[in-house]
Symmetry: C2
Subunit: 225 residues, 2 copies
């Protein structure tokens, strides 16, 4: 609950004292101390004798249901910039061709970006685009634009829907070094296929987000069983 | 991509050899070996000289958008049972009272369950229910029923919608021991407030899922920016 209150900015900077929290949650001071220890270990708070307990880092909330790019989603929070590590035509691996409904052995455009919010890396994004759209996108500045915005711009279509899967995975050595976290840190992994409003899948992404920096939230209406 | 192919059961048991995979993905055998090393470390595959590479564990896919309980969602996969660790009336902490729209200082019903699929723990669920519904639910067998099903049964209402947030967090010592994973393992944490079809929030849950066992997937239509 403390975690959720930090995310929702219930404490703007300093948290209440241990006694006050113990009363609020009807638990012992020891339990409060353990909980604060967990949150400190996750990097969410700083604590010290005499200085009290402070919010060290707030997680950024990315709406799962808005199909917005990071830059668009965080425009009120800070500047998103992309370090473009690869951007090129490739032969689509069969798994990619299958999901983007390409001919076996056909081309796709591959883009790898390390995405920063301010000075800190947020996510490592691997993207495959269909060749028609991907080739046009390679002519645009990828450092400062969301792919979602570029896809709509070059295709003349709106995005329509997305299929996604979310999992928690330990950071492998390469991802950990790139995202500046220890090996094995918890990453939020998003795999998403996005389609245009005419139903054609055009964008397959594998996004590794730092677990300590991003929450994905949404509002869902019960679908029929 | 290999990870996704394992999840989607593209390989029923044995994976293709390193050479074959290197050709399929247009990369070197070393790259394939590194990728397989990562997946082995995550526990998704077993590898050994002479025996080849086999799928060790498939992740179970829980639909993010269906508002189904685990038992209902996995009824074709295996038996879900719940170890009930607590089930009692409590004074709702302010954060809980606020989210469930209870009077400050009012009661709620707290339930803690460790949920198994077959012999392996899947998730550790902490739930707060509004007192009217929670009190009735305490009279039902919690070991073998989903709370969602019980809420609909005792309230006479259907569930309507849910607000949720997903994050990846490292397992704290208590959660790790309970879920039978090493300290610091990646957990998928779901926080969800579920409302009845009349809009009243009745169920606040904090669910810690083993990252190596569950994927949450969904299909989303673009909402208006």
């Amino acid at each position: 609950m403390l975690r959720q209150q930090i995310h929702s900015a219930a404490y703007l900077d300093e948290l209440p004292g241990e006694n006050e929290l113990a009363i609020e949650f009807s638990v012992s001071r020891n339990t409060i101390r353990e909980a604060l220890g967990v949150l400190k270990h996750e990097g969410l708070i700083d604590r010290g004798p005499k200085v009290g307990t402070h919010v060290a880092q707030r997680k950024y909330d990315h709406r799962i249901d808005s199909l917005l790019g990071l830059k668009e989603a965080f425009k009120h929070v800070g500047e998103v910039r992309n370090e473009v590590r690869a951007a090129m035509a490739v032969i689509a691996p069969p798994a990619v061709a299958n999901r983007l409904q390409l001919e076996p052995g056909g081309q796709a455009v591959f883009i790898e970006r390390l995405r920063y919010l301010g000075d800190l890396p947020l996510s490592l994004d691997l993207t495959y685009l269909t060749p028609d759209i991907g080739t046009l996108i390679l002519d645009h500045p990828l450092e400062t634009n969301d792919l979602f915005a570029l896809i709509e711009q070059v295709s003349g279509h709106r995005l329509g829907s997305a299929s996604l899967a979310l999992e928690a995975i330990p950071a492998d050595a390469h991802s950990a070094a790139t995202l500046q976290v220890p090996d094995g840190s918890a990453l939020l992994m998003l795999e998403r296929v996005t389609s245009l409003d005419d139903g054609r899948p055009v964008d397959l992404e594998y996004i590794r987000m730092r677990g300590d920096r991003i929450t994905m939230s949404g509002h869902l209406i019960r679908s029929k069983p």
